[in-house]
């Protein structure tokens, strides 16, 4: 478990799905056994790093690994994109965190994933399938080239609808279009899970609200400890405050105040920009430009 956190979490596989999305399979036998759909980990790449939350996108008790799919959006995730290789280690990985998704009862479920939400919705789709529910998947990508895990989803979904921004694969449009299509064909859908950027989840909630379909979203506020100690991850649910790390991250989409979430995600914008700039400069100094710093 890493005495004092000391870098014992080995990356056993790395795969790149696009210029911004990459997959890391991390060895952690104990966690692979304990993990359930809907849970996440907190990762520190190195000793000076930030603690960032990432969903457990897959877990395999036999291989003793957990899989993370990361979008490079800022300093930490880009640095990880550069440094994490097969055989390298992460300084800290803690989890599984959060309350596992409640899977049960539903007969036909719509699982919607967009952007960085595609991978996180996979364990839920699989869990629903295993519980005996019919699963209809809706996945949103920018275009055909950045698609991934279609095979994994096909294996657990009874039906899969792919949406791309430019129409290069599946239907052209946002995931909400795919949802409308699925709901028209299957009026008996009785539960929906939507994971992705807050704007997307907000739009999905509005698709199901008039139909009265129970809808679960997985919220992604900025976190620090992930143990309920700091309150940085607080979100507004109905009239109350909840901490996403210990009370979530799954919440009833129709109760979530998404505007509040989006405003709070912008909390560290200036500092994030500063970190990014400094890091890119240091990459340039090390060799060419940020992308050429691969050698490092």
């Amino acid at each position: 478990m890493g005495e004092d956190g000391g870098g014992a979490f080995e990356i056993v596989t790395r795969e790149d799905y696009s210029d911004v999305t990459y997959m890391l399979e991390v060895r952690h036998p104990q966690m692979a056994k304990a993990a359930q759909a809907g849970q996440f980990v907190i990762v520190m790449e190195h000793e000076h790093g930030e603690r960032i939350p990432l969903t457990i996108a897959d877990f395999d008790p036999e291989r003793g690994t957990v899989t993370l799919v990361v979008q490079a959006v800022g300093k930490t995730t880009k640095e990880m994109q550069q440094r994490c290789r097969e055989g390298t280690t992460l300084y800290a990985v803690v989890g599984p965190m959060g309350i596992p998704s409640h899977i049960g009862g539903a007969k036909k479920v719509l699982c919607v994933g967009g952007g960085l939400g595609v991978a996180p919705v996979y364990p839920q789709a699989r869990a629903y399938a295993r519980s005996g529910a019919k699963v209809i998947g809706v996945l949103g990508f920018r275009n055909k080239d950045v698609m991934f895990w279609e095979d994994r989803f096909r294996a657990v979904c009874d039906e899969l609808i792919v949406c791309t921004d430019d129409g290069s694969a599946g239907i052209k449009g946002l995931v909400t279009k795919g949802m409308e299509q699925a709901l028209a064909a299957h009026p008996d859908i009785d539960e929906c899970v939507a994971i992705g950027p807050p704007v997307m989840m907000k739009a999905c909630a509005e698709v199901t609200r008039p139909r009265g379909i129970r809808t679960i979203v997985s919220l992604n506020p900025v976190m620090v400890d992930g143990t309920g100690m700091c309150g940085g991850c607080r979100v507004k649910i109905a009239d109350g405050i909840k901490f996403a790390c210990v009370d979530g991250p799954d919440f009833d989409a129709h109760q979530v105040d998404f505007d509040d979430l989006m405003a709070r995600l912008a909390r560290f914008k200036p500092a994030e920009a500063e970190a990014m700039k400094k890091w890119e400069e240091s990459c340039r100094m090390k060799g060419g430009d940020a992308s050429a710093a691969e050698r490092y």
């Binding site: 800290a92 309350i99 100690m229 309150g231 405003a263």
Partner: protein
Amino acid sequence: MAKKKTIRTIPQARTPMPEQDPAARARNFKEVACGYTLENAHNEAERCLQCPDEPCVRGCPVGIDIPAFIQKIAEKNYHGAYDVITDTNLLPAVCGRVCPQENQCEGVCTVGDTLEPVAIGRLERFVGDMAIREGWVNRPYVEPSGFRVGIVGSGPAGMACAADMAKAGCEVVVYEAFHEPGGVLKYGIPDFRLPNEVIDVEIDKLRELGVRFECNTLVGRLFTIEQMITDMGYHAVFIGTGAGYPSFMGIPGESLNGVLSANELLTRCNLMRARDFPNFDTPLMPGRRVAVIGAGNTAMDALRVSLRLGAEKVMCVYRRSKTEAPARAEEIHHAGEEGVEFHWLTSPVEVLGDAGKRVRGLRCQKMELGEPDASGRRRPVPVPGSEFELECDSVVYAIGTNANPILGQTAKLKLNKRGYIETDENLATSIAGVYAGGDIVTGAATVIEAMGAGRKAARSMKAWLGLKDTDVVFAEAAPYEKRRFGFAPDEHGYARLRVA
């Protein structure tokens, strides 16, 4: 032997603590109180009357033999003083710094009836610091008992329990969710009050006793308390997971950017080293004008950290008056010296935001003290028509915490109405073999109380396991090679026997 001391013959003035100048220290993270010199310590030790009554011992939550250790200092037997303290208190360098002595030992000191009380805390710290400098460890001779003990949480409660169980010959593993051990001592209390090096030394001492620390382990989720007993082979478990779950007030504007809990501010700054951003990756965005709500130790730390992060103005907003403020007197005094502005009898009613959803101010109302409430303190009541605005760009909440829910969610532990773990008077929980203590049982309290609870639970665990302390020292076989590895069997009477 010297003449008997009387209140008239002892040095009359309490020896002042050498401190960094307020103006300078308000801008750095170096320790504020520099510690007694040898001369200071001797002078202060002379002030102890060695009264037969020993009220200070009863005032100490763990009952340190205070007159005895002060006597040893006076005799220049510093190692002896250390031995006396560590008989009961594992962390003299920590407690000497952060205990609320004015409500404990010093509050009842006989000298204090007439003059200022003996500076017991400062003397304790003096001894603790010397032990660190000189590398003293009282490593007892330990007879392995064959038992395995799991400890959840590496704060003072967990550390104290770990030490006692290790000394009883158990194999001890401490699980910690964070990437570093130490609990609040590490992530909460800032370096200028309690340097992280002091904690690291104490943790290392535990390692020398054979305690293992497993960080990055969220107990409850990675494995449950029940699994520790049923699958992982632990014969007893201690839970010391601390409080956590900071409270907010529920007034409008709390989700504006710039509103955060003191725990978040302190964790980012202390543990994640956001104060060295961007050399460390964790950002903080400190305020220029900061309002901190509350007046406990946590609030004082948030105020003083904000100053050191470069704030121009730092304000403490508290709905009662200074007399009721729960922080240690010394902390309020230090904060005042450093330039913190106090708004007593002031209660926030709304956090005000700008178009960009950032904090621009705090609307408050004045309060006055009414009838005493359940806690015996006079209840603050609003003064009608007294609302006013404080201009600020950051609002920090330090109004207390609720119970951390994780273990309650994942184990069949009996909790009380407020969500804290319920125990009997021996700190046993509702699960056989599982004990709990510290903030997760009492709600937010103090370092020394958490430590005391850890030790009390250790006593109960030893009884549960059938381990008995004895005075029999296994001194006969003191093999020379073992001594070379630092074992000195005759050093301490810590031998343990297992009874049937």
